[in-house]
Symmetry: C2
Subunit: 275 residues, 2 copies
């Protein structure tokens, strides 16, 4: 199947074909371009997909860490996914993304997969209250970069500043509804991508549009494929905030729930910023 | 220098000697033993030390992810630290820990190092209020595992349950003062180890001592070596909580401040639990 036959941008962005032992060929698409290279979320999803497509996979993803070492250029790339250790119920993976002519990997990642079992379970973080997504009307706008078109976002609180006036606000917190555009049944790759959807907290906190880019993201998956399929095309509710901005790097941390109230992922990243 | 000449358990735990290109020899010490294998924090610190000792290192650690693939046995181990990509101001590392006869790495890790610059900086997470550590008296107790002897811990709130009665509490939150025992000037290796010091949140939340073990930990360093040296031997204040416990895995997230109020690290982990 060629990329253009795949009906959804997510599927085109993560599409891989086998290219030898532990190797898969993909293609960085123009529709996922960010300011420098593609949206980090789609790169994370493509790295994860190398594991999901691997014939030796056992279980389902629990943890994904992706390090963005250099920008991926539009065009062909190779995902190398290696199962470095397989235990009775967990498996550890190293993943790299390469492009021809690049000096070392452009992306490195680690993935833990596991066979999950029924156990005592409970949530400790309450889902934030938010008005229903249908009641929130977002004025049409033209995003400055292509990938934003692949998502619907309805801010609840902590939107992007309306004035970039360097006003140095009091909080980096945002709450928003979000989903794939067009709607698409949730799965691990779309969940991995959406986990990177929170805009840089420094823009919110500082009302100054400094250059910023994710250096490393870690996402923990708290739902399996069955539960994600049940979520289907529901809106997801995400909250995010930073803890500190210090000497060129800040952290941001987020949680994402299904509309029906299941905590699906917790996600953390460290982000470079300038000035 | 032999391990026994090193004066502090931390230094013995992370001590490495060059053993060829990208390779370093270490020794898993009895004094760091946990229930199965060593305390994860000292393993994380030893992995990080492979990067810190590497002749090609540029900058200082920003992000550290450590995946615990299998238990390390007491005795010799090898750290393999490879700089997979060096940019103008960041460097990406893959690290593995091996032992003779093991089938693949026992630990995998990734580290991002960077040259930090003076920028606009601010904290977004307030330091929790806590009584001074000197006012908290902890009754003497004999820890069930060796590594706990290497730390002083003064709980402020959310202590280990006094009755393991399965009472299913309402919160997984803990706040505590902590530092190396004996006191030792803070640096990246001790900070990496202390980041794993929060006991499993499920014990706190559930008052049931189920088997639990960290699968993957990610720590973001918000202070450099100079600031850590200034912290010196101060007490550190740490808070931790879980977001969810689901089907055999829960997450926990923590922040650690110096006594004088600097947020030093944010740290996240996903933890296996049984039943």
């Amino acid at each position: 199947m060629s990329d253009s036959q795949l009906s959804h941008a997510i599927d085109r962005g993560v599409h891989l074909t086998p290219a030898g032992d532990d190797r898969f060929a993909g293609h960085a698409q123009a529709e996922w371009q960010n300011m420098v290279g593609p949206f980090g979320g789609i790169t994370a999803a493509a790295a994860l997909n190398g594991v999901l497509q691997h014939p030796k996979l056992l279980g389902e993803p629990i943890a994904l860490t992706v390090n963005f070492a250099a920008a991926i250029a539009e065009g062909p790339f190779e995902v190398r996914a290696v199962p470095v250790r397989t235990n009775r119920s967990t498996q550890h993976w190293n993943v790299e993304i390469h492009q021809e002519g690049s000096d070392g990997p452009l992306t490195t990642a680690s993935v833990v997969t596991a066979a999950r079992r029924e156990t005592w379970s409970t949530d400790d973080e309450p889902m934030p209250r938010a008005p229903a997504p249908d009641t929130i009307v977002v004025p049409p706008y033209t995003p400055p970069v292509a990938w934003v078109n692949n998502y619907e976002i309805k801010p609840v609180s902590g939107t992007l500043p309306t004035a970039w006036d360097g006003s140095d606000g009091e909080s980096s917190y945002s709450l928003m509804w979000m989903r794939d555009r067009p709607a698409r049944t949730l799965d691990f790759v779309s969940m991995a991508a959406i986990s990177d959807l929170f805009f840089p907290r420094i823009w919110r906190r500082r009302a100054t549009r400094v250059p910023a880019g994710t250096v490393s993201i870690t996402t923990y998956f708290h739902a399996g494929s069955e539960q994600m399929a049940e979520v289907g095309t529901q809106w997801l509710l995400g909250q995010a905030k930073a803890h500190t901005f210090r000497n060129g790097f800040f952290d941001q941390t987020g949680q994402i729930w299904s509309q029906s109230g299941h905590l699906l992922v917790t996600t953390h990243q460290i982000v470079y910023y300038k000035e």
